[in-house]
Point group: C2
Chain length 346, copies 2
């Protein structure tokens, strides 16, 4: 079997103890205790992984997965900064344990203690600890920390985010933009809210790409789920970019785009606009599209056959399925050694 | 020249007196005076229309346009209910005057006095007045009245909207969902916010279509700009709908979709998924895509050639360009007579 890396997988079937702790945070309020990760047995974690994640990887032909806490359950909007920190610790501890059990298959990526009104400077200790001490190779960033209510989060293009971007560049780990829960009653969480924020992140990063990548030339950012409608309604976007004197076509290659989309037309558009050098494969196991398509009898997220049918050369296909992911998550795959103070040495 | 109806045009080049009044609302506060529409001369209005709107229609080959106040300038979030009412009156008065000057070309559609926290019952007098007394044939509905801040607007599928839907059904005028300004610093107004809400309206109306159209079988709703990514990332949507026991494919035909999109692939997808009976042409003059595409030398919003190249039969093309719009905006085109109490009689 050829190697295939999925860059966007969440632990969507965690052990029940995680839900019990999370539910308890509502009752305990802003001063509750943290989560004792040692209370989880290896067996409980392995059982939970065996429910959906590992069988799905086997069934779909995925060799390795960048593995992070579930996006919808990050829920940065909920509770005080302490509540968020406790939950972030619990969630990242679980990922660390899971990946340690299956080191050849699951590669850890963390969430951060983003909390409404708390600036990025206060998230960095968690990022450094997970990367430098535990081998995490990436992080998920919620662009809408409060979940659509006040205080609204500055655009991901805003210099408010620069302390995070500086640290990401220093550590050479990518940030994967991914929204979580929303309080907006008109935004269905994974039917609307994710897509809206995928699009918003794509738009704002591209719109300010010249400044952002001048200030952080080695910053690695990943846009997810094809960027909402940003690539698909490309002429609407090109009209706006052209009018502002920006070059839509070239900025698309300043970031990586994951291919967690579920129809071949969208993949074709991504290949046409972005090119194979900036695309990374994902089917996002086990998430929104973990449903059997009655038309085909296959699961919607069984998308490797769609990539295989794109008409790419073997070298191009290898870029999307393996090579680009290895370069992006270089801490997992390169032969470089990393000093624990975060400075990369060749 | 064949007849072509554009169902989604805004007066984006209004006389300067409108801007002067609008700017003054900031200074005058919640108790300022209304706008005196009589202060606008016919010449000033005709001059304003001659700047962009009428030449664009001529250049693009559009015979008739459903003509409404500019979407971005509706700005329902701004000021008290009185401020919103004054601005709504001014905006609709301008549309009435403009359409009266060019009765064969411009057909009036109104905005409503939507104001944060004000229920739909309090918008209906404006709708009835414009439709019954002035011949307006549709209205634009802002699904995000407060512009992304508290109090957040209930989903357009929520029964909160039912008094409006009942009145729309009674009057037999369609509602065209279209967001306006947003306070969210991460949502560029016409690069992100419109698209996010196009998608949100599409998703929520489709998700609740069985209930909504059971309760209002003759309700006419229009989704704009292709519904964001709702039709384009269709397998993500199908996965969600399938899992919830809903039939994505059939609900798409319960509403109309305007074709204010700017690339042929998106149009093809709309034809494939929605079918020609539920699509209505628009290039949205003069809006976001009123920009020359350097690749083609044509304006992005010069989209009639794209429709002509879809490979449709003459009858299918006629549905999209003329027939469906006539049925949708039946008060403008049918030979029915309408009683001023809003009850349609054959």
């Amino acid at each position: 079997m050829h190697m295939v890396i999925d860059v966007h997988c969440h632990f969507t079937s965690p052990p029940a103890a995680m839900d019990t702790y999370r539910a308890g945070q509502i009752a305990r309020g802003p001063h509750g205790p943290g989560f004792n990760a040692a209370s989880l047995s290896d067996e409980a974690i392995a059982d939970a992984l065996g429910k959906r994640q590992l069988p799905a990887m086997d069934a779909k032909g995925i060799s390795q997965a960048i593995f992070s806490p579930a996006a919808y359950s990050m829920g940065h909007h909920f509770g005080s900064e302490t509540v968020v920190r406790n939950w972030t610790t619990a969630s990242n501890d679980l990922i660390q344990r899971a990946c340690a059990l299956f080191p050849g298959r699951l590669i850890p990526s963390c969430q951060l203690p983003q909390s409404p009104g708390v600036p990025p400077e206060r998230w960095l200790d968690e990022l450094e600890f997970r990367v430098n001490s535990q081998g995490f190779v990436g992080c998920n960033i919620n662009p809408d920390i409060s979940g659509g209510v006040a205080p609204l989060t500055p655009s991901v293009a805003d210099e408010w985010w620069y302390p995070l971007y500086a640290k990401l560049e220093e550590l050479q780990v990518p940030a994967h933009f991914h929204a979580s829960a929303t309080q907006n009653p008109a935004f269905h969480f994974n039917g609307v809210n994710y897509t809206a924020w995928d699009h918003a992140c794509a738009f704002d990063i591209m719109w300010a790409a010249d400044r952002i990548f001048r200030d952080f030339p080695r910053l690695k950012l990943v846009i997810t789920h094809g960027g909402g409608a940003f690539l698909l309604q490309y002429n609407r976007m090109r009209a706006l970019f052209d009018k502002a004197g920006k070059d839509y076509d070239s900025v698309l290659r300043r970031v990586h785009w994951d291919m967690a989309v579920y129809e071949q037309e969208t993949m074709q558009t991504m290949v046409k606009l972005v090119g194979v050098d900036s695309l990374v494969y994902s089917c996002e196991m086990c998430g929104t599209a973990d449903v059997v398509d009655k038309r085909t009898g296959r699961k919607f997220d069984d998308t490797l056959p769609l990539v295989r049918a794109l008409g790419l050369t073997a070298a191009e296909e290898s870029k999307i399925l393996v090579d680009n992911a290895k370069a992006l998550f270089s801490r997992a795959f390169s032969s470089e050694s990393f000093r624990t103070d975060g400075v990369t040495v060749a």
